[in-house]
Amino acid sequence: MLRKLTLSLITTFALVTPAAAAVNIKPVTSEGGLTAWLVEEPSIPFVALELRFQGGTSLDLPGKTGATNLMVGLLEEGTGDLDARGFARAVEGLAASFDYGAYDDTVTVSARFLSENKDEALALLRGSLVAPRFDEDAVERVREQVLSGIRSDLKSPRDIASREMDQLLFGDHPYSLPQSGTLDTVAALSRDDLLTAHKNALTRDRVYISAVGDITAPELAQLMDDLLGDLPKAETALPGPAATNLPGGAQVVEFETPQSVALFAQAGIERDDPDFFAAFVLDHILGGGSFESRLMQEVREKRGLTYGVSTFLVDKDQAVLWMGSVASANDRVGEAIDVIRDEWAKAAATGVTEKELRDAQTYLTGAYPLRFDSNASIANIMVGMQASGLGLDYIETRNDKVNAVTLADVNRVAKRLLDPDTLTFVVVGQPEGIE
């Protein structure tokens, strides 16, 4: 029972905000032309390796929704001489761990392996990425698992809200489609569809790489070529920018459950916009900053209307949004939404105070180095930085950028961006008092 809510609503929505701290990042380039960021940390005899392939489930071909997700689910189901069970035994025997994930903009691979059997572990990982078998029995088994997950999502208020919001926002852009597909599309996927998805999604010219741990730069350079050199180059275009439909008001999805779950969204801000950091600080004050945020104070601390309310800037490759979420009993969610909309209007009209700005800056800059406290988290942050197009110098300059934000900047951005009229709610449940 955690007192505070930690929402990881939609994974790719989390804003990657890398930290300063004494982290010595080395850029590494392989003979084959692959690049990576490395932090050497030999004190613990293992390596954390992160790969992010750009494109993700957005590369699903028309009518093949869910192909990338199913393909990724099959990467650990056999390669070369090893069938699914053989592969699992081999990985267990080395005590390595490989996690594969499919999201709307990326396919992710998080690997960790011991120094003592690095080469064997990497040979297995390579096989899973470059030459997965897609055996018929494995395809059917994993397909059933994916279908089971989809059926569960269809009965989960939070997943229903997320799916409805994507449909409403993104029209006919791939972002409007569920990442794991639908019952119909997944049932119809063939082995050829998976081979196509594999060729399109795992490409050597669209991969970001980071490594932290007991490994040197020359070793990493060699590792990258061995691991990824045989992957194809990308042949399919990434989807173009997504227009966002934000009609305002609240859309209700009737679902029999005691507590309504609401997501809300309005226009966001590009990461390279000169006002990005002002918006980032404003988001913290409004709803990103946990207990001290205005929304937590107004909705939870003063009125007891929810266990958690939060906002977050969404930075997808093809769309930016400002989003949030709240959950309240059916007879109270209407009031929670009214309070959120009022706070939105109030911040747009009258901005924030000097004290709120100072507190936010102190928190954001102070929390910054705390993130760099493990090999796994540093690897994760570094790969996210690359995917967001941030340079190596970002780490040293990020706190200065936060501190450079003035009250006038925040209040100008609040006026420019916060828009209660287009703030659009999707509410799943049996809410009372919402049209």
Partner: protein, 447 residues
């Protein structure tokens, strides 16, 4: 595909399975006790200038008075309201102003509060945490508003989830007489009547240095921690009226298998869940628990485990099948299994298939190569664990609130390595007894 298994595993086990310390970890751990009885554990990790400060109380939901379920967790929320010197909300605001983050959690056997901050802010954390050990001030308004918050928390965690409601009912069936059968967050009707006096009574009974464990992990030395702990916690007198024992009614011998079915239209994926009452890790006596932990890995710890082999690979009976054992518990714990059938396989068929796998395992015994792989992974887990200092802090805090000692925590990895196939089979024969089983079916509608 592992993600599926991970999602379901989360449905079944309440707290994460516990790993143990390596020799290397042990080298960085020290512990001592202050004169007032506060136990202190320091875990050094100097890779980053970060520190985790945790205060654990030996008081959880299973220590609550009858009729006040949820009061331990309610009090945890209320500790973020004011003290004599801090306004409501000022605690967390101060942590945030120092670039840190804070939170708290409640379980059956403990309540814990923690902050993650830059190492040079440790003193401020100790000053504030020691203050709210004895000086909270609660207004009637705080009580009313925060009670609404915990009811919304119950809505979110339990009422909105058919499988959470099912797990709650199943636990109540598992524990006839022990408070582990009552949900940590509380039964709704009792939560609704929790008041200021209930919260303060729990606070005054259990919040004192002689009932707490301080764990500090990160970029600190034991000497620094000792000096600060003496200054801030050391001055608080021990509570002479602290109950001498954690008085808990224990389970009687189970003499009949128990069953329940739970139907809810929100269920998309029916499944069978099975549990058996099982011994927990005890101070100086962890051998049987170690065998059970390895048994869970063998039976249902992944793609190559017996349940997956027989039900997901050899036959397409299940989309997922797993087994779980969490030995960290003050009183008797459970050994759990779950089978999620493939479409077209009934819950009855899934349960029968699961029982056949168990019966076969009890006659066929342990595959030595599989046992070896599990031990390799346990060894490696100790290397990986060093990358997560907060995880290590949790390991010690939990253990020390659940009757174990620092020495027990440090001995655990070796005890696991020493488990033999015979130990596993003996534990399996003892615990996996059909007459002492609890079986639950989660379904969309009564079949």
């Amino acid at each position: 595909m592992k993600r599926f298994a991970a999602a379901l595993a989360a449905l079944v086990v309440f707290s994460a399975p516990v790993q143990a310390a390596t020799e290397d970890v042990t080298d960085h751990v020290s512990n001592f006790t202050l004169d007032n009885g506060l136990e202190v554990v320091v875990i050094e990790d100097h890779r980053a200038p970060v520190v985790v400060h945790m205060l654990w109380y030996r008081a959880g939901s299973a220590d609550e008075p009858v009729g006040q379920s949820g009061v331990a967790h309610f009090l945890e929320h209320l500790l973020f309201k004011g003290t004599d010197t801090l306004a409501p909300g000022e605690f967390s605001a101060t942590v945030a102003q120092n670039g840190g983050s804070d939170n708290a959690f409640t379980s059956f056997d403990y309540t814990a509060y923690f902050q993650r901050v830059a190492a040079d802010r440790l003193e401020l954390m100790m000053r504030m945490e020691s203050d709210r050990m004895v000086n909270i001030r609660l207004s009637e308004e705080d009580i009313a508003t925060e009670r609404d918050v915990i009811l919304e928390e119950r809505n979110q965690r339990v009422e909105n989830s058919a499988s959470a409601l099912f797990r709650e009912q199943k636990r109540a069936v598992q524990y006839l007489n022990h408070r582990y059968g009552v949900p940590i967050i509380g039964w709704r009707h009792e939560m609704e009547s929790l008041d200021r006096a209930d919260a303060l009574s729990f606070y005054e009974t259990y919040y004192s240095p002689n009932n707490a464990i301080l764990v500090v992990a990160g970029d600190v030395t034991p000497d620094e921690v000792r000096a600060l702990a003496d200054r801030y916690y050391g001055v608080i007198p021990a509570n002479p009226d602290l109950p001498k024992e954690r008085l808990r009614s224990q389970e009687p011998p189970q003499t009949a298998a128990r069953r329940l079915t739970f139907a809810d239209p929100r269920v998309a994926q029916p499944y069978v869940s099975r549990s058996y009452l099982a011994p927990e890790r005890n101070a100086g006596n962890q051998k049987e628990a170690a065998a059970l932990r390895i048994l869970a890995d063998l039976l249902g710890g992944g793609q190559t485990a017996v349940l997956a082999e027989k039900l997901q690979f050899d036959t397409q009976t299940a989309v997922y099948a797993g087994a779980f054992y969490n030995g960290q518990s003050l009183d008797a714990t459970t050994f759990d299994m779950v089978v999620v059938p493939t479409p077209g396989v009934s819950l009855q068929e899934a349960e029968e298939a699961m029982d056949r796998v168990l019966a076969d395992f009890l006659t066929e015994g342990v595959d030595p190569a599989h046992l070896e792989r599990i031990k390799t992974q346990i060894r490696a887990a100790e290397i990986y664990a060093r990358d997560d200092v907060q995880g290590l802090a949790n390991r010690y805090g939990r253990a020390l609130t659940q009757g174990l000692t620092v020495a027990d925590v440090q001995a655990w990895p070796e005890i696991l390595q020493a488990v033999t196939a015979e130990d596993v089979m003996e534990a399996a024969r003892k615990v996996l007894n059909p007459k002492t089983s609890v079986t639950g079916w989660l379904m969309a509608e009564e079949g």
